[in-house]
Amino acid sequence: MEENKNKVLKLSTAGSVDDGKSTLIGRILYDTNSLTDDKLEAIERSSKLKGNDYLDFSLATDGLVAEREQGITIDVAHIYFSTANRSYIIADTPGHVEYTRNMVTGTSTSQVSIILIDARKGVIEQTKRHFFINNLLRTKEVVVAVNKMDLIGFDQEQYNTIVADFKKMIEASDYKNQNITFIPISALHGDNVVNKSKNLAWFNGNTVMEHLENIRIEDIQEDAKARFQVQTVIRPKTDEFHDFRGYAGKLKGGELKVGDDVTILPSGRKSQIKSIHFFDQEYLSASKGSSITITLTDDINVSRGDLIVKSEELPKEGKQIRATICWMDNQPLAPSSTYFLQHGVKLVKSKVKSIAHKISTDATGAIEKVDQLNMNDLGLVEIQLAQELHFDAYGENKGNGAFILIDTKSNTTAGVGFIE
């Protein structure tokens, strides 16, 4: 379909150990004919070696040697497949208690979350955790796949109980703007994954794939203001483009048009958009997601990290921010430690002034006083910055409301923050 040409839908999966996430992904790949002969052969071979009497589709995704040895997924893996309609990218994130950071990572780049529930266990602690993280990251489109229906005899009543339990969680959640779809499936046997199941004839809804195919990108995009952060300044210094001074970046949110009145931050200087370029062509406008180059009518000093916004849509500014942090490093976060804060492409020295509290990741989001945040902890913190930051609340603009903290010694990405 021409309208979906170049369209990609990014998914992430969340589930506890043995909920069958890898099996679900393997099943999707198999039933959409995305597994090539050589991969399928490898799966058949490995399944036989392991002594399974069925095809172990989880082998299609469990990549690293350590994982194959332990039979678990330990990092975010990316899986690709396409239908006649569009391309899909799945971030397969592990379900262990201790791997919150991986789920945050995988969810941060996806547009749709698939939460898996083992029908025998129903809504458990980890389901609450997955849903909580989903809401923290404001994922609008959620599919709740109740898996292993075959092991409860495809029982409608038990399924309804699970759905009712999940709906209680939805009521208790503070993020209301979601589309949540429940689907009973058996990933192992293929019921309601791609093809409709005869065993689940009582279920009138779409299969997982049917549902995904019907999601329209326009419906799940956030309605955000235009934020254009400069990545690099383009000065060709050739005869032909002697005076060309272009600002290259990827537009986060909204739309920019030639002639728009803009403000450059942090300087506060005002100008107008003179031209919008993509490669060797000029355009009248560009929208969210485009990697463009713009020029301004005035010759002013703009450098990497500067934010160009419409003058009537200024973001917040400040040297102090409050944010929910997900800690991702072995070294705990302690108050008054300094980090590089990377906001989009801008790097600022920062100090974590205080930890207001730790947030439990169960559905209650209960809070607890702590001295430090350990890996996989979530907490609310106050951060002091060396320079003014121009930001939005994460709920208003994801791209301009998130940041990472970088350890100044190890250089590792130690945490991710969502500005309040």
Binding site: T36, G63, H78, D280, E282, M328
Partner: protein
């Protein structure tokens, strides 16, 4: 004047990554093999910095066992775009006794590239090496980051990778470390071919169906090029119409029978294909964890 810039998420993402490399590193280089993925990289880099020239040189690790068509193509492209090209020869390393040539039926110089790559990085002080690897190619690559930090020995520590959240890329490194950058991480083989088709890009002729002297081994079609590729006396040479899906060292790249003489036919063929691209890479068949092991040692 055009109305509105048309979104292509994969292209926009790759351009964003290229611009981050320019913003965060002092001495980046594009690893260029002359294959379709590296040609695509060059195209994306052109788009990222236009109307300025691509601000990075190219680096080719030359095994000496190349398809001549690829080398011709490489030199032509470099000339057209006015780029700087560094070539490091695996042969030099063999002659110096730093590495030992493999022998026997499956002898290949593919593994030997790693040493030459690390030497080139050290010699020129490259802090970011941009490569055309894609996550869909292989299971270990599915876990690779966009910015992948390597230590002084080029080693990949897969258990200790930096999380990559949203589109924020952390390229901070210590002296001696370098980052491998993969702008087309999220592209599939079909995405690359469709892009080549859409952009009407030139690619080496060996990607299209042509007559070639070949022999069969282990169900794969090998180029009969006795100088580089070992062939036993009972492995008989015949002429077939073939093309290559991937272009590496001649000794580790198998051909496929094909009548796809132009890009439209190639795209059709890839869409209908039931064998993965790497299915024709002999180097990956060595063991199930072959790629992961090579990556830990500093392979691309």
């Amino acid at each position: 004047m055009n109305e509105k810039v048309i979104n292509n998420p994969l292209e926009d993402e790759a351009i964003y990554i290229f611009r981050e490399v320019a913003g965060q590193f002092d001495k980046p280089v594009i690893l260029f093999s002359g294959g379709k993925d590296s040609i695509t990289l060059v195209r994306l880099a052109q788009k990222a910095f236009y109307p300025a020239k691509i601000p990075f040189p190219l680096l080719h690790i030359d095994t000496g066992h190349n398809f001549p068509e690829t080398i011709e193509f490489r030199d032509q492209l470099v000339k057209e775009l006015g780029l700087e090209l560094h070539v490091h020869y695996v042969q030099d390393n063999i002659d110096a006794g730093n590495v030992q040539e493999e022998s026997g039926k499956y002898a290949s110089r593919n593994m030997l590239q790693t040493d030459s790559l690390l030497q080139a990085i050290e010699k020129h002080g490259f802090d970011a090496c941009i490569g055309g690897a894609r996550r869909d190619e292989e299971k270990a690559r599915a876990k690779e980051r966009v910015f992948s930090v390597r230590d002084d020995f080029g080693q990949w520590d897969e258990k200790n990778q930096r999380p990559e959240v949203f589109d924020m890329l952390n390229g901070r490194i210590d002296f001696g470390q370098n980052v491998r950058v993969f702008p087309i991480s999220n592209w599939t083989e079909l995405d690359v071919w469709s892009y080549i088709q859409q952009e009407k890009m030139e690619i080496p002729s060996i990607y299209f169906a042509h007559k070639r002297n070949v022999f069969e081994r282990d169900g794969l079609i090998w180029s009969a090029h006795d100088e580089y590729v070992f062939r036993a006396d009972d492995e008989i040479v015949t002429e077939k119409v073939v093309r290559f899906r991937t272009v590496g060292d001649m000794s580790c790249t198998a051909a496929v029978e094909s009548f796809a003489f132009d890009i439209d036919k190639v795209v059709e063929e890839i869409k209908a294909s039931t064998i993965s691209e790497r299915g024709a890479r002999i180097d990956d068949k060595r063991s199930e964890a072959a790629m992961e092991k090579r990556k830990q040692q500093g392979y691309f």
